[in-house]
């Protein structure tokens, strides 16, 4: 069966866009084919810096024939009906129609319309230009003389030629006949820019891949990655070193070369006095090179080696000596800059940098970084006792936490914020917990980032996030849909993870009010909304952990739930309780009670919320339930007050038998109105007792 080979040959495609673009190309082409009824056996897409390629295997040569029978009017029907039929069926005269007779309806005309399936290559000629012209690049451009005209082709960088070949393996394939704005379409592509610049003729995928390899192009990005990783490890191993692996960098570097040639360079050992993270950031960000690990230092800590791995795109005539020398020059210049920053930054104490923060606006409506630091410091101090931190240290850490933003090093490498602060703090003799908190107060940065555990770090991390959340809520800049420019969802998740990991007992409502007062605001206007945001984030978090989100709703429905740790404990206890027989039955019973109450209260237009009258408990099951409710309710209440949620659940489980017995023997809607009212009041008391632990009406059904 025939194959399609498509290659879009252009100027250098940004590395970060290549993988996605190849995948988009595959999906767009195969979806368009399937939509038109053309099935295929397999499809794979590829990207290099200069080309996107797609191979679709096992396509039919043409689509399926379509045979359609269209029923027409009776034989002898009026002329108008006959003409309408001929026209709609596309027949020239009745001679082209067949006559079918039906015992009931008599004889009538039938048109048999046969449409041959379309040639696949024609369909491709329709599909491909449309996909190319509207390709979803994140950023695209116009170029050249064609860009005089509005609506000229857009591509990520100038597109030079296209290979579009279709045909079976055994025969000469054809060029898919379409045209795009003067881009050449045919069987011609080019190899490596420097190593094989001449034109190459390709016919089909089977010869395309080896032809490219001969022309110094490794088409498959994953293969390029494998080659780089393998060669880099070998080079490191030969020198007794270890490659510091970096998947993001590997992916990027593989998108910068068509023919990876891995080389090793070195730098002066004196630069190893710079913190290793700085060396790595310098070499990675500016040079896109890998760093290497050497033997551990005398203190047993890991040390970088004074060497790096670079990936070039050239088999150089001198074996790469000039390339290595050139890269070493640049690395040397960059590390000299970094060493200079490291030296000069340490000459100024962190606290002496604080006035500079007063000149930097954090947000137009939320004041300067300096004001922000002052707020976070006082909030950290207030939170310190709650998380078991020394208030002086928490305040000190918060005061210094943002000072590194105005150091030269962080100006150059923003990704080192926090870390540099930690180094500089340690250098100037700050308490180790203060130094650690300066780095860790940004954490956790996402669902998988580590949560700090040192109390001082936790206090500052919480203060930083609460101040941000409250500030943006106060000025009504909340996340909407996919837009969350200030990463507020991440901040709220951070608070949740910090609280749960440190088992901190925090009344969010109170802390929101405190944080708001730091902003000179009253939290009244937005506190509930922000709490609801936390509830939502917690739900997402717990759901990811496998908890039932209806249980979270059931707990949040109780008044005053603003202590995240207690909410989670309660949800956990509730979940476990509902897994027991007692729990399941009690849930069923309380649901039944709630249904009856809802119906009757609606019918009567009144609530049955008075306490049941003991004098009206006529049946033993009624009395037993009333007794059980009194004791279980009180016990559950006591347990909840003591934050013993397991105990509260245990207390409630004592209700199961009397509830079951009550429903088995007692008719709620008794003829005696007083008895009925009292029994409804009993059901109300059951609802009230269960509400000690959760709002059972929010809990979904079995296996939900």
């Amino acid at each position: 069966m025939p194959d399609l080979l498509l290659e879009l040959f252009s100027e250098e495609i940004p590395a970060r866009m290549q993988r996605r673009a190849a995948e988009d190309l595959r999906k767009l082409v195969t979806d368009a084919l399937v939509e038109r009824g053309f099935l295929y056996e397999g499809a794979k897409a590829f990207a290099t810096p200069r080309r996107l390629a797609l191979h679709v295997a096992g396509l039919p040569a043409r689509g399926q024939d379509v045979r359609e029978e269209r029923k027409g009017p009776r034989v002898g029907a009026p002329e108008g009906a006959i003409q309408g039929f001929l026209k709609s069926a596309g027949l020239a005269s009745l001679d082209e129609a067949t006559i079918v007779s039906d015992p009931k309806k008599g004889e009538f005309y039938v048109a048999v319309i046969e449409r041959p399936g379309r040639e696949t290559i024609e369909v491709l000629a329709e599909i491909l230009p449309a996909i190319i012209k509207s390709f979803p690049w994140p950023k695209s451009m116009r170029w050249g003389a064609a860009s005089r005209e509005p609506g000229s082709l857009r591509w990520v960088r100038p597109l030079h030629s296209i290979v579009a070949s279709f045909g079976p393996e055994t025969e000469t394939p054809e060029v898919v006949p379409f045209a795009i704005d003067g881009v050449e379409i045919g069987f011609t592509t080019r190899g490596h820019r420097f190593l094989a610049p001449q034109a190459i003729e390709v016919r089909r995928f089977a010869d395309y891949l080896p032809a490219l390899e001969r022309a110094f192009v490794v088409l498959d990005a994953d293969r390029r990655k494998d080659i780089i990783l393998h060669d880099a490890r070998d080079l490191a191993f030969a020198r007794g070193l270890d490659l510091v692996e970096d998947e993001g960098l590997l992916e990027e570097v593989a998108g910068l070369v068509e023919w990876p040639v891995t080389l090793m360079g070195a730098f002066d050992e004196r630069f190893l006095s710079i913190p290793p993270e700085v060396i790595r950031a310098t070499i990675r960000a500016n040079q896109k090179c890998f760093v290497l690990r050497g033997a551990p230092g005398p203190d047993g800590r890991e040390r970088l080696a004074n060497a790096f791995i670079l990936v070039s795109n050239l088999v150089a005539s001198d074996g790469g000596a000039a390339i290595v020398a050139g890269n070493e020059r640049v690395v040397r210049a960059r590390l000299s800059d970094a060493a200079f920053f490291w030296e000069t930054d340490r000459k100024v104490k962190l606290e002496d940098r604080l006035p500079r923060l007063d000149t930097i606006v954090f947000h137009e409506k939320l004041g300067t970084q300096g004001a922000r630091v002052a707020r976070i410091a006082s909030l950290a101090r207030a939170l310190a006792p709650v998380v078991g931190a020394n208030p002086d240290l928490a305040e000190r850490a918060a005061r210094l936490a943002k000072a590194d933003l105005v150091t030269e090093m962080v100006g150059e490498f923003p990704e080192l914020q926090g870390l540099m602060g930690r180094y500089y703090a340690a250098e100037q003799g700050e308490d180790p917990t203060v130094a650690a908190a300066i780095e860790e107060h940004y954490k956790p940065l996402g669902p998988s980032d580590r949560v700090p555990s040192g109390p001082v770090s936790v206090a500052v991390a919480l203060a930083d996030k609460l101040d941000t959340l409250v500030g943006f809520w106060a000025i009504d800049e909340k996340p909407t849909g996919s837009k969350d420019p200030y990463a507020l969802r991440r901040a709220a998740l951070g608070v949740i993870r910090l609280v749960l990991a440190s088992e901190a007992r925090i009344s969010l409502r109170a802390q929101i009010a405190t944080a708001a007062s730091g902003h000179g605001r009253d939290s009244g206007a937005f506190a509930e909304d922000l709490l609801a945001f936390f509830a939502d984030r917690l739900k997402v978090y717990l759901r990811d952990q496998g908890a039932r989100h209806d249980l979270i709703d059931a707990v949040f429905a109780l008044p005053g739930q603003d202590d995240l740790l207690m909410v989670v404990r309660r949800v956990e206890a509730l979940g476990r309780f509902l897994d027991t027989e007692d729990g399941k039955n009690l849930l069923a019973g309380s649901r039944r009670a709630a249904n009856i109450l809802r119906i009757e209260e609606k019918k009567d237009g009144r609530a049955y919320d008075a306490a049941p009258d003991p004098a009206l408990l006529s049946l033993p099951e009624e009395a037993a339930l009333a007794d059980a409710l009194r004791s279980a309710g009180a016990e559950a209440g006591r347990a909840v007050a003591a934050e013993d949620f397991e105990g509260a659940m245990r207390a409630l489980s004592a209700l199961r038998a009397p509830v079951d017995a009550f429903f088995d023997t007692v008719t709620v809607n008794a003829d005696d109105a007083r008895l009925r009212a009292n029994r409804l009041a009993l059901l109300h008391a059951l609802r009230a007792a269960t509400r000690e632990v959760a709002d059972f009406s929010r809990i979904g059904g079995e296996g939900r």
């Binding site: 100027e11 250098e12 940004p14 590395a15 970060r16 810096p49 950023k139 695209s140 451009m141 116009r142 170029w143 050249g144 003389a145 064609a146 860009s147 005089r148 509005p150 990520v156 960088r157 100038p158 030079h160 420097f194 910068l256 070369v257 040079q287 896109k288 090179c289 670079l310 070039s312 795109n313 050239l314 150089a316 005539s317 001198d318 000039a322 390339i323 020398a325 050139g326 890269n327 020059r329 640049v330 690395v331 040397r332 210049a333 800059d337 000149t359 930097i360 606006v361 137009e364």
Partner: protein
């Protein structure tokens, strides 16, 4: 080859590098211009790029432009950073289909052996907030060092470029350091001579770097500069207004002529405002919030000048609507 020719090898002298690039691009049909006689932050500000990139008329030019970056001054103490340095600027409108090959040929011309050195085109999208301009392209790397910027202009002064121009910017000092194999910019051989006759980059510029760093960071009269910014802004607007078509003075005999008549003098004032802003920024007297508003004010001037330019002969007198 005479002794002088050897001195002017691009691998031997800074001026030889410049002359080689000029000859190379002259051979491609570029007009070789001289630097614009005003202080600018980048070669792009030269009207031969900014204004000529607008409108339908073809244009090919190349020139050296001294670039002033007041904030980058290091009192002559940093071997790589200067507050005044040279860019070699090439603009080709529309860009020819083989612009990348031409660029690589120009590297060969200045002595970069493409069989020995690893040249790469690494994504770098260019944007000038003050010019209301952006384009897509690359940083061009030679053995890991950025030696040029390569940009396909998409928008300038807020207008779509139609056709698109290709712009190349060579960092001359960096490139010269590379081909001469020196580590410190001040050690560059300027004239290619040796011994007593040798003139280095430091001989020419070290004192200037020291003096201007002092000026830029410590002495520049901020009150005067603030005034100059306001004056330049007002003058730009005034010249744009005065250049509008219509019977303004006696000289005007064709009141129906739709052409704008003073786009370039107005644009000079925009350049002036931009440089004054850079000086104020280096003096540290513009706060972060104000910074944005100054950039916006310059951009508004650039847009207005671009709009006026499009109503001139060289601008193509095109009645095309501005891009959204």
């Amino acid at each position: 080859m005479t002794a002088t020719d050897a001195d002017l090898q691009p691998t031997r002298s800074f001026q030889g590098l410049i002359l080689t690039l000029q000859r190379f691009w002259a051979a491609q049909g570029c007009v070789i211009l001289q630097p614009y006689d005003m202080e600018v932050g980048a070669g792009t500000f030269h009207p031969a790029t900014t204004l000529r990139a607008l409108g339908p008329k073809p244009w090919k030019a190349a020139y050296v432009q001294p670039s002033r970056r007041p904030k980058d001054g290091r009192y002559g103490e940093n071997p790589n950073r200067l507050q005044h340095y040279y860019q070699f600027q090439v603009i080709l409108k529309p860009n020819p289909p083989n612009l990348q090959e031409l660029y690589l040929d120009s590297l060969k011309a200045i002595g970069v052996d493409l069989g020995l050195h690893d040249i790469r085109f690494v994504e770098d999208d260019w944007e000038s907030p003050t010019l209301g301009a952006w384009g897509l392209g690359w940083e061009c790397w030679c053995d890991g060092m950025e030696v040029s910027q390569f940009t396909y202009f998409q928008q300038v002064a807020g207008f779509e470029c139609s056709p698109v121009a290709g712009e190349l910017t060579y960092g001359l000092e960096r490139l010269a350091m590379y081909v001469q194999g020196v580590e410190n910019v001040y050690d560059l051989n300027f004239n290619g001579r040796e011994g007593d006759e040798k003139v280095t980059y430091g001989d020419v510029f070290l004192q200037a770097e020291q003096e201007y760093s002092r000026h830029n960071f410590e002495a520049a009269d901020t009150e005067m500069l603030f005034r100059q910014f306001r004056d330049a802004e007002a003058a730009c607007r005034a010249y744009l207004k005065a250049g509008e078509p219509g019977p303004v003075g006696e000289a005007d005999r064709q009141s129906n002529d739709p052409r704008h008549r003073m786009a370039q003098p107005a644009y000079d004032q925009c350049i002036k405002a931009s440089h004054v802003f850079n000086l104020l920024d280096a003096r540290g007297v513009i706060s972060v919030t104000e910074r944005q508003s100054y950039i916006l004010r310059v951009r508004e001037l650039a847009k207005a000048c671009g709009e006026a330019w499009r109503r001139t002969d060289a601008g193509g007198l095109a009645g095309i609507v501005p891009a959204a």
